[in-house]
């Protein structure tokens, strides 16, 4: 297999990352709202709009990087005619998610009004957030020239790293000042606990993905290509900073049975975000470099 052209560059990377974080944020916010919306209202009021904003920016990035952005609406033409293109199948999901995240945000301007309707949009939005979080992975999975991307596990890897990065963003929002840190200490504790559960799970998915890749040379390329956006991003950015460091910090928090200090938590949450970004960098570039 030849390396061929390098056609998807940083705008695609940005779009993948933004939609991953946005979908993750919506999932976290919707779950918090469904659990106890009054207690979590302060978090939801920030996280829902942030999710919507990132989704809108992601969509704008996606459209702007096209060769002919003014024809973007054509992207679902195949769905209406042949129904074969994976890209045209995922575009409506992304559009639905963007709309639902914006509508849900509007309801959170006054959350007490029309509560059942808001709940409805939160649930439907939650259902759309999962495929939206997987969308980039699905698209890469269907790129039949790139063996490194061609596994059914990749979309889930993108989904769960997106959720982890969203936990990182929500965590950073909470620990940014002492008052919210104190108010949401139990939430921080459960977030670090869930992070600790998710990290080994994501590690297993990562291993499953690499094992499922048909071409050992493609995996070898990811693991040995010295190009800074391939192997170094995978080892340092994803495995060490993205998985290793939060696992160590989370384990300390878990065994201590109390939230860690703000500075340690800040590092933990930042490393989760870096990990999700580094995974996308390494896979996008290593996939095209082979």
């Amino acid at each position: 297999m030849v390396a061929g052209q390098f056609s998807w560059d940083w705008p695609i990377l940005l779009e993948e990352f933004l939609f991953g974080v946005s979908a993750g944020l919506f999932i976290v916010a919707a779950l918090l709202s469904l659990k106890d919306w009054e207690r979590n209202a302060r978090v939801c009021r920030v996280v829902f709009p942030l999710s919507a904003a990132l989704a809108v920016v992601g969509m704008v990035t996606l459209v702007a990087e096209l060769g002919r952005p003014e024809r973007a609406a054509n992207a679902i033409l195949n769905l209406l005619t042949l129904g074969t293109s994976v890209m045209s199948r995922t575009v409506p999901v992304l559009m639905a998610f963007v709309i639902l995240s914006v509508v849900t945000t509007l309801f959170w301007i006054k959350p007490t009004a029309a509560k059942p309707v808001r709940r409805f949009f939160e649930v439907v939005g939650l259902l759309s957030a999962f495929p939206a979080g997987m969308q980039a992975g699905i698209l890469l999975m269907a790129a039949s020239k790139r063996p490194l991307w061609e596994t059914p596990v990749l979309p889930y890897l993108y989904l769960f790293t997106g959720i982890l990065s969203a936990i990182g963003v929500v965590g950073l929002l909470i620990v940014r000042n002492q008052k919210t840190y104190n108010e949401y200490s139990s939430l921080l504790l459960s977030m670090t606990t869930y992070t600790l559960y998710l990290l080994p799970f994501v590690g297993v998915i990562t291993a499953a993905h690499l094992i499922a890749v048909e071409s050992p040379r493609a995996v070898l390329n990811l693991l040995t290509n010295p190009f800074p956006l391939a192997a170094p991003a995978f080892y340092i950015g994803y495995l060490f900073v993205g998985l290793g460091m939060p696992a160590a910090h989370g384990y300390i928090a878990f065994t201590a049975k109390q939230p860690l200090s703000r500075s340690i938590l800040t590092r933990l949450f930042i490393s989760l975000i870096i990990g999700a970004l580094a995974l996308r960098i390494s896979l996008l570039y290593a996939g095209q470099l082979f």
Binding site: L66, R68, V86
Partner: protein, 320 residues
Amino acid sequence: MAQEAFGSYEQVKANSLAMLFDQDLCIGCRACQVACKRWNEREPLYEIAEHPKLLESRQLATGAPGYAGSPITSFTNPQNLEAHTWLTMKFDEFGEGDTLSWLFTRVSCMHCVEAPCVYGCPTTALWKYPEGPVVVRTDLCIGCRNCIETCPFDVPRLNEDLGVIEKCTLCADRIANKPLALGDFEGSTASPRFSVKQIHPYSTWNLLEPACVETCPTDALKWGPRDEIVRMAREKAQRIGGFTYGIEEVGGTNVIYVLKRPPEELGLPKVYKERVSERTERLVSQMNAIGIAGLMVGAFLGIVKWVGERKNQLLKRSGG
């Protein structure tokens, strides 16, 4: 849904026309390149050799900078396909004993029977015609470059000035005996099926062959019904102890090579043999199965947790 999308894969495979590239007869004159440029009114490559993009593509193509410090790494010219170059002949040198032998390999679109680029194009800008050509309808292209990422032969190129993809059309405008237009299929849109009409055997009915075939002075390029071309390719490969390329790749293509060396040695990509629809839909099915299994495991764990909590609550209430 997808299996029949391009008007019965088997029908196209059996009835379409195909091109044969016989490496044994090719003399590397590049007349095909010139004919392609002329018929399709493609601009010549004006950029000077030191252009960074050319150097980059050269390095990608050859994996090394030039000999003895020279930027020239090969007699292949142009070094690779680009938006205005839909066909190039790759020059390879092989040392055998004291002699040096040249081998020339066609680098262009293979016009897959079930083309991954068509299958992946979100706008139907890429379209497979039942006669064989895979054509870009540039007025529909959005420049998403999904075709570049799906084409296992690395053929489509982005025309950066126009923002659309361009590639070889197999001279669809020459070989067609009828206007090529969308809508020439029957059945529902969910399961479209082409009505294959006016497919004529290689005869006087087909007045025009692709420009490269017509101009080839050594008959290294041939044009005819696909099943006939496949038979010729197999027979020739067996006779010269060579190799075929395109009969099985991606489930079959409408351009078939007879090669004197293994395809990998000539820089041709090693490509999967199954149809792209089978490959992609298998992955999608597996992804769905993983999701359903994950949901079931999650639901089971949730029920176990709920039962445990409920049990604790009841024990607390009963003072246990």
